[in-house]
């Protein structure tokens, strides 16, 4: 009865205020729900992509001397392998390689394994590289030099590409961490029957079952990983040593679950501050009715309301605000996808937030006596009296020192579970909180002891009223201080995450460039530089030698570059050359023809010092002397972390035959790389390998560590902007509404709109400038720390922070709209007939 009476009144007369509080709750609920939805859908996509990327889920290999009788799960085909000593046409010979026997429908069951480039797939097929070596085409007859048997002849019916050659020729059962085996140079694929004719009984013959599992996997890559690897182990156990499982799908999921964890990490790092902000905002919104609420409470007290009654009334109000806010918030979140379980979690979170924000202000001990509304007194909040701001900032810096360089994602040896080191976030979180408190302190200093200064600053806006304006602001120090702080924190949040995202995107781009080397990369071609340069859309062509050489017993990629021109065509980054710049490193190569850049690992292994002689052995046994000149960590198109970089001219003269082939790095004149790639493909025919940056960026972006931040950042930045709007505009308007009595009285005392404006615009300027300046400074500091903490996410680490100009512009534009709008709304409201306002209080 009591509760209904109260609620009825609130809903009919104070609906607007309840709606505003509900809007705060809606913000608090929408973010985690939307992020949650995004996270689960991202994880599902990651699992699906891993499944897509793998051509063959399992390669189950029979062990020598054994044959597998255990039934295979899913769809499977038998594949036979054997080694041969060489292939030849009447004019050309090539070295050893492997012959595969595939059933006729193999390509239908495992479409990702082979890609027909020329001819048809009915007979013997040559891998692209082998066909190029032999100058063979469909119809060519090739002699197979079998090991320990007479030569045989096959007629080539087609040329294929083997995109997953690494996995196809893997050593099944190799210990974890072993050097991956390079695929054979020459590959011959035969129909199963023909293979059996040629190789049955060969000592090198091996049999594998290629398995495609039913893809009913859990959506989370980590769960899917556990399921798939568990099934693989289970099969091995059932085969009792007769076979081993090469678990390609497990490996892909293993990588994906790390990605998933990174995205979860980002979820935490974006979501938590957002939710904290929403809580602060809602708390400020809830407190903004304090004056009126205090007099209501005083009345209730006088009528004998016990704290339990306050609690009941407050709870009723809370539940209504919560229900409305949660519905609205989930509605917002539903725009990003089906909310489901995340909705429930967020709704629960919303309830906690609502209780934490609405209840205290409803329950604050009602010692107020009516008619004596509280004007804030000068006492600073406890947190500031105990110097908590400096303590937090100091703690953040100490923690930062302690945790930098920590691995963020932990993949413990031998365990299927991986975990995240959430501690690393403590430092930026503390910094953010500490800076927020510091902002609060500064604002309180300005409006309290610094009142004279404030009056002088207000003079241009307020003229003769500046002292009065400063006094009235000083007596509102509490709400204004909180408002500026929340607004500055929101700005800091948006800026730091935008900076992080921009840096992340910059590095993803760098990563793509690193992988592809240039806008378009052309390999396996006999075309000349000039011919490529003639293709429309090409602005520059840079040749790059690529081959292999042994350092000691370790086979490494060897690159030869043209020191004079490479800097302009290949996008070399300073970060590729630890302790040096790109220009510096290339300069070292230019300074000495036989200079060599090697990986840090090689430097350590061989105790190299600059100027030391390094002898490399080519694959055909030739020994070439080089001089060690510097360290290289990354290089365009280099697949592994261990490789060598030398001068192309020196390679051409020292080992013209064996130091590899030429790759061309093609820069475009602004035409989209994939368009130029298509033109090149037309020009050079199917045998040339052509890859472009657009495609690579997509592939890199969807593979390791490259969590697609697009959706995530859209959600979180949109939300951050909403928070900024709310923290500046909404809180200002609410603050003005709270003081509408003051404005109405000033009106009836004869104040003109311009003079009311003095009160309003001074406060708007204070909030706007405070939030912009202090928020930007705090955001910059937090962004720096975040990027440092999250270095693990970046591959390679950034040279510098990317500044999100776009977001800065949006933020500034938003401020230029919202702040004046808040002022104008307040001014308009102050023009309402003042008597109505005065009577209503």
């Amino acid at each position: 009865m009591l509760t209904w009476l109260w609620l009825y009144g609130l809903l009919t007369r104070r609906g607007a205020r309840l709606a505003v509080a509900a809007a705060g709750i809606a913000l608090a609920v929408a973010l985690p729900a939307a992020l949650g939805v995004f996270l689960s859908s991202a994880k599902t996509t990651m699992t699906a992509r891993s499944v897509e990327r793998v051509a063959v889920d399992w390669q189950v290999e029979a062990q020598p001397g054994a044959s597998i009788t255990t039934p295979m799960p899913g769809t499977f085909r038998e594949v036979d392998f054997a080694a041969f000593d060489g292939l030849s046409t009447p004019t050309i010979d090539t070295g050893p390689g492997r012959a595969l026997g595939l059933p006729a429908d193999y390509a239908d069951v495992f479409p990702g394994q082979t890609r027909l480039l020329a001819g048809d797939a009915t007979g013997a097929l040559l891998a692209q590289q082998t066909a190029a070596n032999l100058h063979a085409e469909p119809g060519t007859t090739v002699t197979v030099h079998r090991r320990g048997r007479p030569d045989a002849e096959v007629t080539v019916s087609g040329v294929v590409e083997l995109p997953e050659a690494d996995a196809l020729f893997q050593r099944v059962g190799a210990p974890a961490g072993a050097q991956p085996q390079a695929p054979p140079d020459n590959v011959l694929i035969l129909p199963a029957a023909r293979w059996h004719q040629l190789f049955d009984g060969s000592a090198t013959a091996r049999t594998q079952f290629h398995v495609r599992l039913d893809h009913q996997l859990p959506p989370d890559p980590a769960d899917a990983y556990i399921k798939v690897t568990g099934a693989a182990r289970n099969l091995e156990v059932r085969m009792a040593g007769s076979g081993l499982v090469g678990d390609n799908l497990g490996a892909a999921l293993g990588a994906a679950r790390e990605d998933a964890l990174y995205s979860q990490l980002l979820f935490v790092f974006l979501g938590v501050p957002g939710v904290v902000l929403a809580v602060l905002l809602t708390a400020s919104v809830a407190r903004s009715g304090a004056v009126r609420r205090a007099s209501e409470q005083a009345l209730l007290r006088a009528r004998g309301a016990t704290p339990a009654v306050f609690l009941r009334l407050a709870l009723a109000e809370t539940l209504i605000v919560w229900a409305a806010g949660t519905l609205a918030g989930l509605g917002l979140a539903a725009l990003t996808g089906p909310v489901g379980g995340w909705g429930a979690v967020s709704a629960a979170l919303g309830l906690v937030v609502t209780c934490a924000t609405v209840l205290p202000s409803a329950l604050r001990p009602g010692s107020v006596i009516t008619g004596r509304a509280p004007v804030t007194t000068g006492r600073p909040p406890a947190a500031l009296r105990f110097w908590l701001d400096f303590v937090l900032i100091a703690a953040a810096l100490v923690l930062f020192r302690l945790t930098t360089g920590h691995q963020l994602v932990l993949v413990p040896e031998g365990l299927t579970q991986i975990s995240v080191d959430y501690w690393a976030f403590a430092a930026p979180a503390l910094l953010w909180a500490g800076l927020g408190l510091l902002v609060w302190r500064l604002v309180l200093l300005l409006v309290g002891p610094g009142r004279g200064l404030l009056a002088r600053l207000a003079a241009p806006l307020a003229g003769g009223l500046s002292g009065t304006v400063a006094a009235s602001i000083a007596r509102q120090a509490g709400p204004i201080g909180r408002g500026v702080t929340v607004a500055a924190l929101a700005v800091a949040f948006v800026l730091s995450t935008a900076t992080f995202n921009a840096t992340y995107r910059q590095q993803a781009n760098v990563d793509a460039v690193l992988t592809n080397g240039a806008d378009v990369t052309v390999t396996r071609t006999t075309a000349t530089e000039g011919r490529l340069a003639g293709v429309p859309g090409v602005s520059a062509v840079e040749p790059l030698q690529h081959g292999f050489a042994y350092v000691g017993s370790d086979l490494q990629d060897l690159y030869g570059l043209r020191a004079g021109t490479v800097l302009s065509a290949a996008r070399l980054q300073d970060a590729y050359f630890p302790g040096d710049t790109a220009a510096g490193a290339v300069g070292k190569l230019a300074a000495r023809p036989d200079a060599l850049l090697v990986s840090q690992e090689t430097v350590t292994d061989f105790q190299l010092r600059p100027g030391d002689l390094v002898r490399l052995r080519t694959q055909d046994g030739q020994v070439v002397p080089f001089h060690y000149a510097g360290v290289v960590a990354e290089f365009p198109t280099a697949p592994r972390d261990s490789f060598l970089v030398a001068n192309a001219s020196y390679l051409a003269s020292a080992c013209p035959r064996s130091c590899g082939s030429t790759t061309f790095l093609v820069s475009t004149d602004g035409t989209a790389p994939h368009v130029v790639a298509a033109r090149l493909r037309d020009r050079l025919g199917p045998s040339a390998g052509i890859s472009d940056l657009d495609t690579t960026r997509r592939i890199v972006g969807s593979s390791l560590t490259a969590v697609d931040l697009g959706g995530l950042s859209a959600i979180e930045l949109g939300y951050g902007l909403a928070l900024v709007v709310a923290a500046t505009g909404l809180l200002l308007v609410l603050g003005f509404a709270e003081r509408r009595r003051t404005f109405a009285l000033a009106r009836v005392l004869g104040a003109r709109p311009r003079q009311l404006g003095a009160f309003i615009w001074t406060e708007v300027a204070l909030v706007g400038l405070g939030a912009a300046l202090l928020g930007t400074a705090a955001g910059w500091a937090v962004a720096r720390m975040l990027v440092a903490v999250l270095t693990g996410v970046f591959d390679p680490p950034p040279d510098q922070l990317a500044i999100p100009w776009g977001h800065l512009a949006v933020l500034a534009g938003l401020g230029l709209v919202v702040l004046p709008a808040a002022g104008l709304i307040a001014l308009r409201a102050a023009r309402r007939p003042p008597l109505t306002v005065l009577r209503d209080l």
Binding site: L2, W6, G9, E296, A302, R303, G304, P307, T836, R839
Partner: protein
């Protein structure tokens, strides 16, 4: 004795300054007795009434209502005592803004745990508020708001009525009918304490207590 307040002290501190609003004031009121408190502006009348109703704690001294000590009790117990025994009328701002006049009365009755529609109607009638049952507080004139406030204070038939300047904004006619109502309450064993400047109030009180500068004279 319904009300026994002994040796009350109350000092306000604002910054460096200290205002000694009460300096050893004692006050009693028996069942059916109407006590008027008068004194110049700022002499401590409102402060005394706030201490008497337990809305404010005195810095020294004690207050008993119906034999039970109310000062310095936990808020919940004070509130329970107030809801059963005390009706309070402030100098201004006695109505909850988001409830109509009648609902303000019903709220008071609900808080006191004594819903009584008949009495509610009687109060509205005697205070000439029938036409304003459903008016919002913001639409009341000064005198109407004062009368509605009194109706709310009386809504639970309190044993002790504490009223601060109930007739300050009333014309002579309304003042007389308000005082008639208060006397009728006293006849039903309510103790009444009224702070007022009005001669009419003083004339119809059983006893007048003079306050000056926080002390009795």
């Amino acid at each position: 004795m319904i009300l026994q307040a002994e040796e009350l002290y109350r000092f306000y501190r604002s910054g460096e300054e200290e205002t000694r609003a009460l300096r050893g004031v004692s006050l009693t009121a028996g069942a059916g007795e109407v006590v008027a408190i008068s004194g110049p502006s700022g002499s401590g009348k409102s402060t005394l009434l706030n201490c008497v109703t337990g809305l404010d704690d005195p810095d020294g001294g004690s207050v008993r209502i119906a034999g039970r000590r109310i000062s310095h009790l936990p808020e919940a117990e004070k509130a329970r005592l107030r809801s059963r025994l005390v009706g309070v009328l402030f100098q201004s701002g006695n109505l909850v803004g988001h409830l109509t006049v009648a609902r303000n009365l019903r709220l008071a009755q609900a808080l006191g745990g004594r819903p009584d529609r008949a009495y509610l109607d009687e109060l509205l009638d005697r205070l000439d508020l029938v036409g304003l049952r459903d008016a919002w507080p913001s639409a009341l004139s000064g005198g109407e708001a004062a009368r509605a406030g009194l109706a709310v204070a009386l809504a639970c038939r309190p044993a002790l009525l504490v009223a601060d300047e109930p007739t300050g904004e009333l014309d002579a006619g309304s003042e007389a009918s308000v005082l008639d109502l208060i006397r009728d309450q006293a006849r039903e064993k309510t103790a009444v304490v009224i702070a007022s400047h009005s001669a009419a109030v003083r004339n119809r009180a059983d006893r007048v207590v003079e306050l000056a500068d926080g002390r009795l004279v």
